[in-house]
Amino acid sequence: MRKPSLRAYRIIALFLLGCLLFNYPFLALFNVGATAAGVPVLYVYLFSAWGFVIAAAAVLVEGGG
């Protein structure tokens, strides 16, 4: 582990992506009154971004190699 593996870099990259997704300015883009299927887009966005990060994390850490 002294030299981080490719997977380690991927996880760190995902962390940085998460920091970006859960933050200004992305939040501001969705912080509008519009709705998608009746649900405010901000809520749809936050939960789907959250779900995406979790799914990506699962694929990254559980995947082989």
């Binding site: 996880i11 998460g18 200004y24 009154g33 649900v39 901000l42 990060v53 699962a58 850490v61 559980e62």
Partner: protein, 917 residues
């Protein structure tokens, strides 16, 4: 159905099930078939993060802020991604150093400092106590509300109740009982509690199921799906703002970011999270699963928060029902009794899980880092001489658990009503965040010192107290409100909620900004101000470079003691039987038969210290071990000596390297010289064999012709004349050869006679051309002379120089094609040297032969097929002659295009010096 006794029975039954789960897990652990060595159980146990605060409070916050509650769960999602790097490092450190708590971790990192441990404990207790009381409040409130069924009545203020009638009081006692039974049953060197972890994982499932059931019920039972809930809410102007609440109801983006950061810290550094994620971790690889499973759990438990919040707001438009209780009151209004009871149990499980783990973690800290160090230092108690201290340690922990729960209960009675649930939780988060600089610095910066940790923690905690705790007290009327509004002594700049005039921020953001500036600033400044001690340096390296270590860390104990004394010491804390077992196992591991044969060396002392550290903390363990093994920590002087020795060794090795390099060079030179000698020897042999061969050839022909003449007296006169001519010619050649060999030998041995004088090269060149003109004419070779009108004289032997020129010219004639040959002789002055070129348009010399032709007996061409047309010594002699007069002779040639033989001699002024030398 929901009468009081049913609720009470359900609560007790639930806690009974918890006891059963914990007991079962403990039994399985004792049998060696652990049920918690499992990534799923580990991930679920981390969900102790979701407390009653999540269960009830998230809905309450969502009802006023919309998505404002989410950063508290997004932060941990991000942090768990880094878990493989950060948490795993902590797990490794904890395992190698037998660390038992967060306070122990920091104390151990900063030179096993009891002071750091104590400070961390105090901050943790003060910061977490309101959080515990928050859980008790949630249980009590939910019980009161459920008791009012079928009416929806908000409970009266806590203070109006008498403790003996209050359910929260009994719940607190039950939790204390559970914590005592499963948290402090025995002293374990690893300080792990399998039963506890299993129970917490079970509780995580219960609260998730309860919350999801309610969410589905509200969204699909009371309303027509998620879209319906939001659509109805959007029609209410007061709720419409919650659809896009950022920069509005949910506060600014700065608040959002700070809450995310705060929760990232909390997910690791809350004492209960540290206990579950780090101390109770059985396998580092479990962190991989937890990296996504735990965030997924939080996503699931938060998915229905907004629908429930909006459902509640729509259902109770008058606002007479506290949003924190929507979770419970919504099923009650629909008369779904089983769901109301399930939700109550879910809330109870969220609260009990948090309280139990938190009190156990805090009690370990209070006992190991606050009480024991003090007790051990009070000589009057003579504790260090007591035979069995293990029961004392356990009793202190039990008392600490009870005290913490009662403290939390008191806080709840006195102040619990002042804030909504979320605000209390955030104040605790902010307190715990004060550990972050010392922890992160401790993990990644070797330079962080004990003084830095103490300064940072104190400064951060002081700012936290001033900017968060004081305003909280003010709301409970414990301090005057005018202090908050106008600042102490009426100084506006010192207002606790707008310190130094920093306004426009919410309280948490404001407090975090100032406390982090103070904390990090003090930590770094104090760390840089003074050099760290040797003991601190040892610990810092152990922590920062934990992944570079193999096996157990080294020891700073240097004095020896006896194995029996160490065993007795460990026995006093772990019980004599357990100590005997451990030491016997250790003896077997070291390859000796019994404990008596173990040497009381530093490794054994370190082993004993680790065993003790597991039960009483590193700082106390150090104190205890010091009583039997005289500790001699590395002093500054010794460290300097070591460094000094190290630099001397480095210097020595440098010198050694240099010497070996010099030796190698000498060896190379010797090798080269040897090669040269061998080469010379070979050359000498070659020379002799060549000379004899060259001498034999003319001799053989002379002898052959002489024999013919001798044996045939009646030979034709013309024939006889021809043979005699050949004999004479061969004799001349033989003479020439012998002369040249002698000549060369003389030159080489330095015995040659040189008649040096200032001579005119031009004259010699012309003479040589004259002398050789018959040869050129006979071969049909044209000679051209380009000689400067006059050249400076050179110092040389006239005859020798003539010899050189004759040789060069006759060679040129020899190698030119008859009839087509052209030879050009040039004489020029080049600076202070005279240069002579003899150029021909003959066959030329290939580059590889150009050096060889100046060697003795080397003739270019195949000597087997071509009759040699010279002695093979001419050029060798020429080069030596020119060299003798300080000049040089060389050739430039291209096969097929002719050659240029040139030599240079220094003009007289320069040449005289050489000649006289």
């Amino acid at each position: 159905m929901l009468e009081g006794w049913v609720i009470v029975a359900a609560s007790f039954a639930y806690i009974g099930v918890l006891f059963a789960v914990a007991w079962f897990a403990d039994r399985r652990a004792a049998e060696g078939r652990s049920i918690i060595r499992n990534a799923w159980v580990y991930s679920l146990s981390l969900a102790v993060y979701a407390t009653a605060w999540t269960f009830y409070g998230s809905v309450g916050r969502a009802a006023t802020d919309g998505v404002g509650f989410l950063p508290i769960y997004l932060g941990p999602t991000l942090m768990m991604l880094l878990g493989w790097f950060v948490i795993r490092k902590m797990v490794r450190i904890v395992r190698l150093n037998r660390i038992t708590s967060l306070a122990d971790f920091l104390a151990s990192r900063y030179g096993k400092s009891a002071l750091v441990g104590a400070l961390v404990t105090v901050i943790a207790v003060i910061g977490i106590l309101p959080y515990i009381s928050l859980q008790l409040k949630a249980v009590s409130t939910s019980f009161q509300i459920l008791l009012g069924y079928p009416e929806i009545v908000m409970p009266p203020r806590a203070g109006t109740l008498v403790a003996m009638q209050d359910t929260a009081f009994y719940v607190a006692l039950l939790m204390a009982l559970f914590a005592i039974v499963f948290g402090t049953r025995s002293l374990d060197a690893a300080e792990r509690h399998e039963g506890l972890v299993a129970a917490i994982a079970f509780e995580s499932i219960v609260k998730l199921v309860a919350f999801l059931a309610l969410g589905v019920f509200v969204a699909y039972g009371m309303y027509d799906g998620l879209g319906d809930v939001f659509a109805r809410a959007a029609q209410r102007p007061d709720l419409d703002v919650l659809m896009a609440p950022l920069e509005g109801a949910a506060g600014s983006y700065a608040t959002w970011v700070w809450l995310t950061v705060l929760s990232m810290i909390a997910i690791v550094l809350l004492p209960r999270q540290f206990q579950m994620a780090v101390i109770e971790n059985t396998d580092e690889r479990h962190l991989r699963r937890a990296a996504w499973l735990f965030p997924l759990y939080m996503l699931a438990i938060n998915a229905f928060v907004l629908p429930i919040a909006f459902g509640g707001l729509l259902h109770f438009p008058e606002g007479n029902v506290d949003a924190d209780t929507f979770v419970l009151t919504l099923p009650m209004t629909q008369k779904v009794e089983w769901l109301a009871l399930l939700v109550f149990v879910g809330g109870l499980s969220a609260a009990t899980g948090m309280v139990i783990v938190e009190t156990i973690a805090l009690s370990t800290m209070v006992c190991n880092d606050l009480v024991m160090p003090v007790l051990l230092r009070i000589r009057a108690l003579r504790l260090t001489e007591r035979r069995d201290l293990s029961s004392l340690v356990l009793d202190i922990r039990r008392a600490a658990i009870l005290a913490l729960l009662l403290g939390g209960y008191c806080y709840y009675l006195l102040a619990g009503e002042a804030y909504a649930l979320v605000s209390i939780g955030l104040i605790s988060f902010a307190a715990v965040a004060q550990f972050a600089p010392a922890i992160i610095g401790g993990l990644y910066w070797r330079g962080g010192t004990r003084a830095g940790a103490l300064a940072g923690l104190s400064a951060g905690f002081a700012v936290w107290t001033y900017t968060l705790l004081l305003p909280a007290f003010a709301k409970s009327d414990w301090v005057g409100a005018e202090l908050i509004e106008h600042g102490p002594w009426g100084i506006g700049l010192l207002r606790p909620t707008e310190l130094f005039g920093l306004s426009g921020l919410d309280q948490i953001t404001h407090a975090m900004i100032w406390s982090m500036i103070a904390n990090v600033g003090a930590y770094v400044a104090a760390s840089l101000a003074r050099r760290q001690s040797a003991a601190e340096h040892v610990q810092a390296t152990l922590f920062v470079d934990v992944f570079q270590q193999t096996g157990e860390p080294g020891s700073s104990w240097r004095a020896a003691t006896s194995a029996a004394a160490l065993q007795a010491l460990v026995g006093r804390f772990l019980g004599p039987a357990r100590a005997a077992e451990i030491f016997a196992a250790h003896a077997r591991g070291r390859g000796v038969k019994s404990v008596d044969e173990l040497e009381g060396d530093r490794d054994l002392v370190r082993f004993a210290e680790l065993q003790l550290a597991g039960s009483i903390g590193s700082a106390s363990a150090r104190t205890m071990v010091a009583t039997v093994a005289q500790e001699e920590p590395l002093g500054l002087e010794e460290v300097m000596t070591i460094i000094d020795e190290a630099s001397q060794v480095i210097a020595h090795s440098h010198r050694l390297e240099e010497k070996s390099r010099a030796l190698e060079a000498a060896t190379q030179e010797l090798k080269a010289a040897n090669e040269r000698l061998k080469e010379l020897d070979r050359l000498k042999d070659d020379f002799i064999s060549t000379v004899t061969h060259e001498l034999r050839t003319p001799l053989t022909s002379i002898r052959a012709f002489s024999e013919i003449l001798h044996d045939n007296p009646d030979l034709d006169p013309a024939e006889r004349q021809r043979f005699l001519g050949l004999v004479i010619k061969e004799s001349e050649r033989l003479t020439r050869l012998i002369n040249q060999v002698l000549d060369l030998a003389k030159i080489e041995s330095g015995l040659a006679e040189w008649l040096t004088a200032e001579i005119d090269v031009r004259e010699i060149v012309l003479e040589a051309i004259n002398a050789t003109s018959p040869i050129f004419r006979s071969r049909g070779v044209q000679v051209q002379t380009l000689a400067a009108e006059s050249v400076p004289p050179v110092v040389a032997d006239r005859d020798r120089l003539l010899q050189v020129l004759l040789n060069l010219l006759s060679n040129a004639a020899k190698f030119c094609t008859p009839g087509k040959g052209r030879v050009q002789v040039r004489l020029a002055v080049a600076g202070d040297r005279i240069r002579v070129d003899v150029e021909d348009n003959g066959v030329g010399i290939s580059p590889e032969n150009q050096a060889l032709i100046f060697e003795k007996f080397r003739q270019v061409g195949d000597t087997m097929t071509e009759k040699p047309s010279g002695t093979g010594l001419g050029l060798a002699i020429c080069r030596r002659i020119v060299g003798h007069f300080g000049g040089r002779l060389w050739v430039e040639s291209e096969p097929g295009r002719g050659s240029v033989f040139s030599f240079e001699l220094p003009a007289a002024a320069a040449g005289r010096l050489v000649a006289n030398a």
